[in-house]
C-alpha cells in the first residue's frame, strides 16, 4: 500500500506500482489540472511539486511516492491566488491554456528558490515546458511581474 499526501489530503494506492503519478492524479483522484502532453518529460505539462520541488508527474512511478508530499495546480494556493496565478491573469498569458498548469507550477517553484529571477534564470527553468500557442513572451513577463511577491 502506497500512502502519500496530495494537496494536503492523505491518499492511498495499491494498484500497479509502475503507474506514473500523472495517471494516479488524473484517473484515480480526478485532479485533471495536471495535464498529459508527452509522457517522456519533454513538455512539462504534467509538472507538480513533490516534496516542494518541481517534478514531471509522467516520470514518477507510484512505487517511489510512498510517504511523499505532492502539490498539484489545484493545491498551489487555497484560493487560486498565488502571485504567479495572479500575474498570469493580469497579463492574459494563456491562449488555449492547456500547458499553463505545468508552466505555473514550474514558475512557482522557481520563484520560491529565486525570488527575483533574471531572464537567464527564467529561460533555464522554463525551457523544459512547451507551449504550442506561443505564450513564452508573456510567461516571461508574468514571472517577472510575480517576482518578489509572497505567495
Amino acid at each position: 500500500m502506497i500512502s502519500l499526501l496530495v494537496n494536503g489530503a492523505r491518499r492511498t494506492f495499491n494498484g500497479d506500482p509502475t503507474m506514473p503519478l500523472l495517471w494516479f492524479l488524473r484517473d484515480e483522484l480526478a485532479l485533471t489540472g495536471t495535464k498529459y502532453g508527452c509522457g517522456i518529460s519533454e513538455c512539462g505539462a504534467c509538472t507538480v511539486h513533490v516534496d516542494g520541488k518541481p517534478a514531471r508527474a509522467c516520470q514518477m512511478n507510484m512505487a517511489k511516492l510512498d510517504g511523499r508530499t505532492v502539490v498539484t495546480i489545484e493545491g498551489l494556493h487555497p484560493t487560486g491566488e498565488h502571485p504567479a496565478q495572479i500575474a498570469w491573469r493580469e497579463l492574459d498569458v494563456p491562449q488555449c491554456g492547456f500547458c499553463q498548469s505545468g508552466q505555473i507550477m514550474e514558475a512557482a517553484a522557481l520563484l520560491k528558490t529565486t525570488p527575483k529571477p533574471t531572464d537567464h534564470d527564467i529561460d533555464d527553468a522554463m525551457t523544459g515546458h512547451i507551449c504550442r500557442c506561443g505564450t513564452y513572451p508573456r510567461i516571461r513577463a508574468a514571472i517577472k511581474a510575480a517576482a518578489g511577491k509572497a505567495p
Binding site: 495517471w23 485533471t32 498529459y36 502532453g37 509522457g39 519533454e42 513538455c43 495546480i73 498570469w88 498569458v93
Partner: protein, 767 residues
Amino acid sequence: MINNPATPKEPADLDRRRFLQHLGAGALVIVAGSAGIRRLDAAERFTTMWAEPWSPVAYVTLHADGMVTIVCHRSEMGQGIRTTMPMIIADEMEADWSKCRVEQADGNDKKYGSQNTDGSSSVRDFLVKYREAGATMRALLEDAAAKQWGVNPGSVRARQHEVIHEATGRSATFASLVATARTLPMPAKKRLRFKSVAERRWQGKKMPSIDLVPMTTGAAVYGADVILPGMKTAVIARPPVWGGKVVSVDDSVALKIPGVERVVQIPPAPMPGGFQPLGGVAVIASNTWAAIRGRDALKITWDDGPNASYDSTEYKASLQSTVRSACKPGRTQGNVEKGLASASRKVSAEYFIPHLSHAQMEPVVAVARVVDGAVEAWAPTQSPQDARNTIASFLKINVAKVTVHVTLLGGGFGRKSKPDFICEAAFLSRAIGAPVRVQWTREDDIRYSYYHSVAAHRLEAGMDAHGKVVAWRHRSAYPAIGATFAPNVAGADPDELTNGASDIPFAIPNMSVEIGPAKAHARIGWYRSVHAIHHGFAIGSFVDELAHTSGKDPVAFLLDLIGPDRKADLSKEGLVKPAGNYGATWKDYPMDSARAKGVVRLAAEHAGWGTALPRGRGRGIAIHRSFLSYVAMVVEVDVQDDGTVLVPRATVAVDAGFVANPDRARSQMEGALIMAMSNTLYSQVTFAKGRVGQSNYADYEVARMQAAPHVVDVHIVESEGLPGGIGEPGVPPAGAAIANAIFAATGVRVRDLPVGKQLAGWRGRTA
C-alpha cells in the same frame, strides 16, 4: 462576466440544469440567422426554430432574473473567441458584462450556422450577425420600456442592463422588461442601429479572457478532463502506414496486464478515409496507464497496403523534378516567357518545406457514451457538426442520434477539425456498452496525424535594367488535402494557390503561377495557415533574394514590388476559376496594395529597420496577405556560433480591418511568430517505408522558451473596414522573415526547411 466551464465534470447533470434554465419560465431567446433575427419563445424553440430554413443561430438568452446567457458557437482553442464573440454581443446590447455568462454550443444541424472553427473565420464571417443579435436585444428592451411608460421608443435608451427615460429620469432593469418584451414584435432590421465607435464599451478594446481563472487553477475542462461514471479508457494501435490493415493480433500478453479488460478491433474506413478513423486494435482498460501498457504489449501483424514504400527523400526529389517543368496554370497574366526573355537579369531559386504535424499540446482525445443506439460525445473538436456527421456515417446511424459537446481545446491548429478520434470513442463505447475515453498518446498524435503538405517550389523572376520585376514564374507541387477525401486525386487544385501564392499583392506585368501533380501517400490536412505556410516562406524568401540581387534595400524593394495604390479584383487578373478569395467576394475584399504597403512601412518603422547590427545578428522582413488580412513582420535573429538561432525581438504590423479584441489579436501574432519558428527552424515529419520517423517532442522539435522572443511589438492598424482573419495570417510572413534575417545575420540562405543544424559552422563559411 461569470464563466461557466465549457463542459462540466459531470456533464449529464449540468446539461440537464442548463436545459431547464433554457426552458425556464420567462426566458427570452433570440435567434439570428441569414433570414434575419426573430424572437422565439422558449415554448416554440423546438418547432419554429427547427423549421427555419436558414439555419438560424441562437446566441442570446435573457433570463427573468436579468442574467444573460450568450451561446458561443465557435470552438475555443486559444484564439479567445469565447470572450470576443460575447463581448461584441453584450456591447451592442448594453448588457452589464458582470451579468453575462457564456455557454458553449453543442454541435447542431442548423441552429448555429457553421460551427467549423477554421479558416480564421469567426469574426470575419459573424461580426455583423453578432452585432445584429445584440442590437436587436437592445431595441427590443427599449421598446418594452417605452411601452411600459407609454413614451416614444426614441426617447429611451439602454445603458448597462437598464433602460432609461432621459426626460423623466425613470429607469427599468432589463429583468423587469422581459415580460413586456416577450409580447412585442421583433424590431425590423432597418430599425437596428449598431453602436458608433464612440459608443462602444468593449469592441476594439482590451478585455480579459473569460477563462483565465479556470485556466490558471486547473479547473478548465479539456477533452481528457471529462469523466463519466463507469468510463473506460482505450488506447489504440493503428496501422503504421496510411491505408494499412490488421492481418492478425496476439493479445494474450496485453490481456494479462492488470486493469486491461478488453481488446476490440476497429475496422478501417475505406481509403482514403477522410474524417473517419484509421482502424486498428483498441485496448480497453480501467485506467490510462493499463491501456497504454496493454497497447504496447499487443503483437500485431499488419498489411501495410498501398503506401508501404513512401519515402520522404525520394518524394522530395520527385516534387523538385516536377517543379522544373511546366505545370498546371493557377494564374496567368501577360506573357511570362516573353517577360523572362526580355529581362536584363534573371534569378531563380528552389525552396522545400517538409510535412509538419500540429503537435498541439493536448493530444487528440474524446469521450463517448452510447446508450440505446444514441451517441453522446465530449471532445475538443473544432467542428462539432463534422463530428456528428462522421460519427453517424461511421456507425451507420441517423445523425439525429448523435450529440457532440465541445470542450475547451488544448490547441487545435486544424488537427481538431478532423473527428476521426471522436468516431473511435463512439465505436468503442457501442462495442463494449460503457462510456469510453480514447486517449491518443503523443506518439500516436505525431504518427497518425493529418499532415501539413510537404511542398517544393521553384521561382523565377526577370528584372529590367532598373531592378524592377517584370516577369514572375512560380511553380509548386504538393500533395492535396483533397486526396484525404477522394480517391485518385492527382495533386493540389490550382485554386489552392489562392491561399497566398497566386493572389500575391505584387504589381508584376507577366506572371505565371502553376501547380504540379503530387500524389498523396499520407493523410494530408489543414494546419494553421495551410498552404500559406509554404507559399509564404518561398515567396517571402525569393523576394528578399531579388532585393539582394538587385542591390536594393529589402523594404524599398518590397514597396516597389507592391507598386502603386490599387484595389484589384484578381479574378480579372488571370486567376483561374473559381478564383477563390477565402470564401469572400473580391468586391468586399479586393487585393489592396495600399494596405500591403502600409503594414510594410509600419513594421519597418517600428523595427528600427536600417540600423546597424553586428555580424551574427540580422533583421528580415516579409509581408503576406492571407485570410483577407495583411501582415508584415520584421524578425531579428541572433545566430549563435554553433548555428542555434535565437529570436530576440520581432515587430509585427497587421491590417485585419476591424479588430474586435486587440489583445487577443496581439497574442495571436505572438503565437504565430513562435509557431513559425517551429515550422522554420525545427520541425519536420519524414516517412520511410511508409512510416513516420518521428514520435514525440524529442524528435519532433518545436520552439522553446530559450529561443523565444523577448519582445514582440505588435501594431494593429486601426480600421473600421470589413474584418479579416487573425488566427492564421501571422504565420506566413514569419517563416520568410526568419529566413531573411538569418541571411542578413550570416550570409547563409536557407532554402530547405527546417533550418535545423544547417547553420553549424556558419562563421567559417561566409565572410
